[in-house]
Symmetry: C2
Subunit: 151 residues, 2 copies
Amino acid sequence: MAVMDDIRTINALRLLQSADELRDRLAGAFAAVHGLSVNEFFLLMHLDRAPQNRLPRVELAKRMHVSASTVTRMVAPMEKVGLVSREVGARDARLAFVVLTKAGTTKLGEAQATFEKHAGFVFADRWEAEELDLLSELLYRLVAGTSTNLT
Amino acid sequence: MAVMDDIRTINALRLLQSADELRDRLAGAFAAVHGLSVNEFFLLMHLDRAPQNRLPRVELAKRMHVSASTVTRMVAPMEKVGLVSREVGARDARLAFVVLTKAGTTKLGEAQATFEKHAGFVFADRWEAEELDLLSELLYRLVAGTSTNLT
DNA sequence: GCATAATGCTTGCATGTGAAATTGTTTTGC
DNA sequence: GCAAAACAATTTCACATGCAAGCATTATGC
């Protein structure tokens, strides 16, 4: 570009903007179809990948890039609806684990189908299979080594 | 991955997660160094690239993926500080253009330096120059054709 | 040309979020 | 062992945001 020709800067901008766009799409679909927010979906995803499907609130906060208080308040209604349950730490009573329930697993499965549908749409047509692999590899380096990585 | 092996799904997840991470970094830096939010930075960017450095509020809302009311309330303090000014449309009195001021241009320049610094850090070391070009090209297809694209 | 619809912006209300203070628990240093 | 520090979770407060309603202006249909 004229104004901003550093390749890293361009990549950062495109990364942020395309993620915004995708997040918007997903927010609409999740709300309409499953009554979930994007962040609630990610919360379920993190639990699904965690050992024994459970994580302390503080860990969820780190992985989701939100504050601890946000996790507290996100979990409350999800617990009420039965998607997750609370379990106090055995050897450390400070820890209040968030546990994925059977119902949560089911709900997550449905939401993943929606996620895949929209991911498929966004990455359809304009990419060859090998380009998708390449993109995957390049993006992986951004999330590799971070505890937040779900893939 | 074991659970989720559709390549498009993986790419969507990595895209969202890496963007989250980058946005977090930038939020801290912008707040500390320039007293700006990430969204305020993007608002200035959109104005900078617009013809005559001005856009109607409704256009800003679309490009930034926020509601019209958010634009109204974001602009108010920025106008107070002198980064932008208001200009009523000449042939359409409904339009209230947001105009980038000289001070706004200066502030944006400083913030861009910070942006470039962090973009450089995030994409440093782990990518070859040609890989960055490739990533740039692949990400471009996600933002191409959208009015939101800043690159 | 005038009533109706559409458009741009703002405001009221409800919700989501982060920082800091608070409480209860565990770890550390001696 | 015990006092002090560290830590996990919650609550309080302030702020940001979206939706829907309201207002002003322009466009449309006849």
